[in-house]
């Protein structure tokens, strides 16, 4: 197992993780629409079907509910299915099996069942796919005890967290932002895992904490660079895990900086940032706040088709810079 570091795209990193997982553990198999010879709607599974065969890279009919339930049943019997939804929006068709079955089996059966499945969701907007193919629904799942919900923002984390998710005995909802699929980054070769419940400080700072996930991490980092030019030192926390949230890292960061801006793509109301804000307000960091917490989230409308409207519907770099300045300059 070499630890050479080369650049892979986010999509390639996920493919590599799937291949490594299937090589290491014969119980791991993939399910999804068009993941076989077609290679997956976002070309993530690629040629895996040639390498591992149709029995392990299974094309499913367009039956999200049934397919999700098959994953649940197989997982209960000890297999390790990785189920790809073509778009995260289609999770809505499978909510029964995800929320009523997968999330609750262990608990309802008094700890005597396990559902070690992974469900992968290409999500988010920016591709002009419009309202029914652009949503960020991760907050829905983060609301359900029994599920784990993660959202890696880099190719490195995508590979490591997916390998960890596949090994995890609980159901893991793995959210991949579509705009990140082509993003390249350093990815070690071979097998490694990344913790599923830890945030990461992507940039240290002292004036404000920006808590973000997925593509918003990258926008926050861009904003932090721009802010540095104006003498504002922003700390960027990559949440990585939405359920559980890494409270320790968030509390320590906000205690240090005394200001918090949450940036997320899901609808602002009742989204991930709402939970982060409330968590901070309930924590020891409350007494360290020197400004109201600011949430930047998705606009209160379905994602529009028109490209300018689509951009305007979710936080952009300028929005983050403006929000941080409002916080630091006490104009909020």
């Amino acid at each position: 197992m070499s630890s050479e570091v080369r650049e892979l795209s986010y999509a390639q990193a996920i493919q590599e993780a799937l291949a490594i997982a299937m090589e290491r553990d014969e119980r791991v198999f993939l399910m999804g629409e068009d993941i076989g010879v077609y290679g997956g709607a976002f070309q993530v599974t690629g040629d895996l079907v040639q390498r591992f065969g149709e029995d392990r890279v299974m094309d499913t009919p367009i039956s999200e509910l049934g397919g999700a339930g098959v994953a649940v049943g197989a997982a209960m019997m000890g297999r390790r299915p990785v189920f790809e939804f073509q778009f995260s929006d289609f999770a809505t068709l499978a909510m029964e099996q995800i929320v009523n079955q997968a999330a609750k089996m262990r608990f309802m059966l008094g700890g005597k069942a396990s559902v070690p499945l992974v469900m992968r969701f290409p999500s988010g907007s920016g591709t002009g796919a419009a309202a029914q193919h652009s949503q960020s629904l991760e907050a829905w799942f983060a609301h359900v005890p029994g599920l784990k919900v993660v959202q890696p923002s880099t190719p490195h984390d995508a590979k490591g967290m997916l390998l960890a998710a596949i090994e995890d005995p609980d159901p893991v909802m793995f959210f991949e932002h579509k705009l990140l699929y082509k993003m390249k980054g350093p990815v070690p070769e071979g097998y490694y895992t990344e913790a599923l419940h830890e945030a990461r400080i992507r940039r240290e700072g002292s004036d404000v904490t920006i808590a973000a996930s997925a593509i918003m991490v990258h926008r926050a980092l861009e904003a932090a660079e721009a802010l540095a030019q104006q003498g504002v030192s922003a700390e960027v926390v990559d949440l990585r895990s939405l359920r559980p949230l890494d409270e320790g890292t968030l509390v320590a960061s906000v205690s240090k900086t005394t200001r918090l801006v949450c940036v997320y793509e899901g609808t602002k109301q009742l989204g991930i940032g709402a939970e982060v804000s409330a968590m901070i307000a309930e924590s020891a960091a409350f007494d360290r706040l020197d400004a109201p917490i600011i949430r930047l989230g998705g606009a209160d409308c379905p994602l529009p088709y028109n490209p300018q409207l689509e951009k305007a519907a979710v936080p952009q770099v300028d929005d983050i810079v403006a929000a941080v300045l409002r916080s630091v300059e006490a104009r909020v």
Binding site: F29, D55, M58, T60, P61, S63, L65, G66, G67, A68, G69, V70, A71, V72, G73, A74, A75, M76, M77, G78, R79, P81, E96, Q97, N100, Q101, M105, R106, F107, M108, L109, G110, G111, K112, A113, S114, P145, G146, K148, D168, P169, D170, H197, R243, P244, L245, D246, E247, G248, M279, E282
Partner: protein, 346 residues
């Protein structure tokens, strides 16, 4: 409801009787009586206010549960429904742990966390009763997929009711079972009513088994109150699945003596209808048939009934004496290991 279901019992011994043999037939009768007394015991407990929530009784459907279950081997699995006490017992569940679960005790099958609708025993191949109509169907298909992947010589029996046959999950599940040729047997217990809606009003086809053709699998309808008929059809379907012949849909025509749940006022069916089905009580029919075929003596029947009474008695006592779960364990079993998520319970 047409009454032409009452078959004449001709002289030849049912093939199922020959195949199963005296001992197994006695075991089947024991299970059916156990289910009956169990359901009645549960009903009594409910009426006395001892059971939190409601329950869905399967009194009258014993031949369907046991007729199928008697053909299962070690390693075979079932999924069941909200009306699943009978299936669970037919798959070997012990009444004492079931009562303990109904009373919310820590010694119950689900440690008091699941209740009547979620009884399960994974070690014994019972993947669980399910509170969602149709919820168990895709899960059964997934379990069958796992059996095929691991090359086990086992099958999954998926119990569901007539209500489920209109759920999307039914159609998706049966389709996938056929395209992947999975070792699963779909058993529809058609007791003529979803909750209050009759199959005549809810379902586009007269016989649910005919839907099998839409999914490329054999379908058969049997009299669900005749043990021999159910057992024969189930045996054929189970062995077909075991021999990698793919899935089958077996429809058992039966009836529940009680309402849907304990709140049901039975406004949607007549007393005459209920009485006519009670007259075809599957346990009575089975006993008479066994007697007629010289496969049991009346004294054995009486002793069996007496024994079951004591079994149920002991089971209830066990449940009564069991401890309730510790409130401090409220958030146990959500994950394999506790996460770092703040519990907000200060």
């Amino acid at each position: 409801m047409s009454e032409s279901r009452l078959k004449e019992r001709a002289a030849p011994v049912a093939p199922a009787y020959k195949r199963l043999g005296r001992e197994t037939l006695h075991k089947a009768l024991h299970q059916m009586v156990l289910i009956r007394r169990f359901e009645e015991g549960a009903e009594q407990a409910y009426m006395r206010g001892l059971v939190h929530g409601t329950m869905h009784l399967s009194i009258g459907q014993e031949a369907s549960a046991v007729g199928v279950g008697i053909n299962l081997r070690d390693g075979d699995c079932i999924t069941s429904t909200h009306r699943g006490h009978g299936h669970c017992i037919a798959k070997g569940a012990e009444p004492k742990y079931m009562f303990a679960e109904f009373f919310g005790k820590d010694t119950g099958y689900c440690r008091g966390r699941g209740g009547s609708m979620h009884i399960a025993d994974l070690a014994g191949g019972n993947l669980g009763a399910n509170g969602i109509v149709g919820g168990g169907i895709p899960i059964a298909v997934g379990a069958a997929l796992a059996l095929k992947q691991t090359r086990k010589p086992n099958v999954v029996v998926c119990f569901f009711g007539d209500g489920a046959n209109n759920e999307g999950a039914f159609h998706e599940g049966l389709n996938m079972a056929t395209i992947w040729k999975l070792p699963v047997v779909f058993v529809c217990e058609n007791n003529q009513y979803g909750m209050s809606m009759s199959t005549e009003r809810s379902t586009a086809v007269k016989r649910i088994a005919t839907r099998a053709a839409a999914y490329g699998m054999p379908g058969v309808t049997v009299d669900g109150n005749i043990f021999a008929d159910v057992s024969e059809a189930a045996h054929e379907a189970i062995e077909r699945a075991r021999d990698a012949g793919g899935p089958t849909l077996v429809e058992c025509l039966t009836y529940r003596h009680r309402g849907h749940s304990k709140s049901d006022r039975n406004r949607y069916r007549t007393k005459e209808e209920i009485d006519s089905w009670i007259a075809r009580d599957p346990i009575g029919l089975f006993e008479q048939d066994l007697l007629r075929n010289g496969l049991i003596a009346q004294a054995e029947i009486d002793a069996l009934h007496e024994g079951v009474v004591q079994e149920i008695e002991a089971a209830v006592a066990f449940a009564n004496d069991s401890p309730a779960p510790d409130p401090a364990s409220l958030t146990d079993f959500v994950y394999a290991t506790p996460t770092t998520q703040a519990t907000h319970v200060q």
